[in-house]
Amino acid sequence: MYFSDEKERPVGSRYEGSKLLRKIHKSHEQLKRHNPDVVISEEPTQNLLNLRRFFRPLDPGCQFFVYPNKRSYSFIQCSDAYLATKIRKEFNGFVHPKLKSSHQPFVISFVKNVPEKGIAETFRPDGLAVLDNYISKDEEKTLTDFIFSHPKVKMLKHRAVLHFGHEFDYDTNSAFRETEPIPEIINDLVKKLKYDGYISAWPDQITANIYEPGHGIPSHYDTHSAFEDPVVSLSMLSDVVMEFKDGANSARIAPVLLPRRSLCLIQGESRYRWKHGIVNRKHDVDPRTNRVIPRQMRVSLTLRKIRTVPCKCPWKEFCDWDREGEMGVPKSGNEAERLEGSYVADVYENIASHFDETRHSSWKAVKKFIDDIPRGSVMYDVGCGNGKYLIAQDGLIKIGCDMCNGLCVIAAKKGCHVMRADALKLPFREKSADAVICIAVLHHIATLERRRQLVEEILRVLKPGGCACVTVWSMDQSHSEYAKMRGNKDENEAIGKGQNPGKTEDLKKNKAERLKVHDGKDFEQQDVLVPWVIDQENKTFLRYYHVFREGEAEELMHSVDGCQMVSVEKEQGNYIFVFRKS
């Protein structure tokens, strides 16, 4: 273990004798637990357990196997047993002066072998294929020589690019302007790709990227509306690890090794739903072996076919086109109902039991509202879900309704009084409730008119003077547990000049009117599709949300006749508001 903040150690100090033996023993125990296949050796071998990069000066040819954030040890494969012995003698028990004083000393052992497999689950998004050795070394040289010597190579912030056929526009992430014709040398490659059946149409937008070691490309989609499927990319001169990120969950990352001279086919789900990018760093960790691989200068050649008819891929939620309004923010009641049907009601039917397993804790403000209702009162729970606010035997007469049959069944099994109903058509007597709660329902309603209707409907069943407590998600999640949980996400950048995609006025307008899949960071717009992930089944469902901006709940209450605002509170990224029927 390298790190411990508990103790300060004088740098340059050396552990010896029993103290060092204890540390070695501890490390061995850990190794046996994690890598039972690795044999610890008393005799010198070429494999040393543990490393730091300053081992390189002693053995320039040594190889590293590391497990960032997963294991507190690493492996070094030295050039020979002699150098390994020398390194161990030099560093074992030593707090290297170049380390911080909080570091532990190196604890070094010999092992007979290093683990054969990496520890990461090597999953790949569907549709992605990497074909090793797609071109020969000679072909690689001819292609890269051609690219390096081309007069039109253009420098971007972190890499150089060269376009053929059509120029890639980094502001819109599309390509409309014709540029350099595709040279014969690349046409030869295209012929091979067609012959091998990897592409059917002749590509008309080809980009060569030249990456210095350490440079990469931000995570991005290849715009649906701009290019056909597949996107094909050839890697030259260096191995690199490309990261694929689930567009519905940026924590789901698949690192994929693109070996030198390999062909990467990004198609289907991997092309339409997953983002891909290359992290800026000088070394990669091969996901298959955990071996550290240094990056060299790398050249990639990406071949795309420009789309001329609208995208019809099945991953419509991830499309940049609103699909003739299907994925637009609803404007009419009919559109809203259709959206709520597919992206709220159907989803809850699918996730009901998983939802029940995860929904138990109560919002403090809601609990207080219920506790303050005089005993013996009648309370309705509109959108009661799994019945968590109905279960308590607290002297109130509590009846719930929910649109979702699965949740009604679950709540009824717990002994709750429930029925299936639409929150906009409440099947309760007028003026029959002393109180109503409506928790996390209103933000699933897709137009202002319908949100107003829900408030009116609640008022209709309330007795005069009765109060309702309503909660919605807030657009600002900065202080929520949800944000903390998802806090270690990196930033989504555009692939060009450090700008966001979709900057032309048309696209900007389009973006604001189109529903967008929320990938776990800040909400960028109010109408979004939020993923519900069931890990065990590897399934993602998208729920529609209208997240509330500050002041919106107040505006809503003011706009409804007979609605008297009592309070608005913010709790964990939610607005909890109370109103009274006057």
Partner: protein
Amino acid sequence: MKLLTHNFMSSRFLKGVNEGYPLRLHVTKMENRDVEFNAEFVKNIMSKCDYGALRTACESINEASKLPANLPDDLSEHDDILRELHRVLFCIEVIEGELECPDTGRRFPIHDSIPNLLVEDNE
């Protein structure tokens, strides 16, 4: 569905319905369940419930024989009535059947104890 729930339900949300109360009850399957009796809670509930509607509902499922035509003013003195009210409100569980709008005749199914009041947009 308990008769307690039924007592608060209405089809007023349907287009063209002014009262929609009480919903007519048609039962094909029901059960009796043991629920702990709490005299105070029952008495309290009766101040919120519509006794006429409850009695009508009980009549429709032949469970009204022990219910008086009108509730006495000193209900807390009548333990037998409170127990009978407790039985009809909480112990009878309607498992399968239908609810019917008294104004339009629109029927709503009750399945697995859960009434389904969802309707089409134009209703």
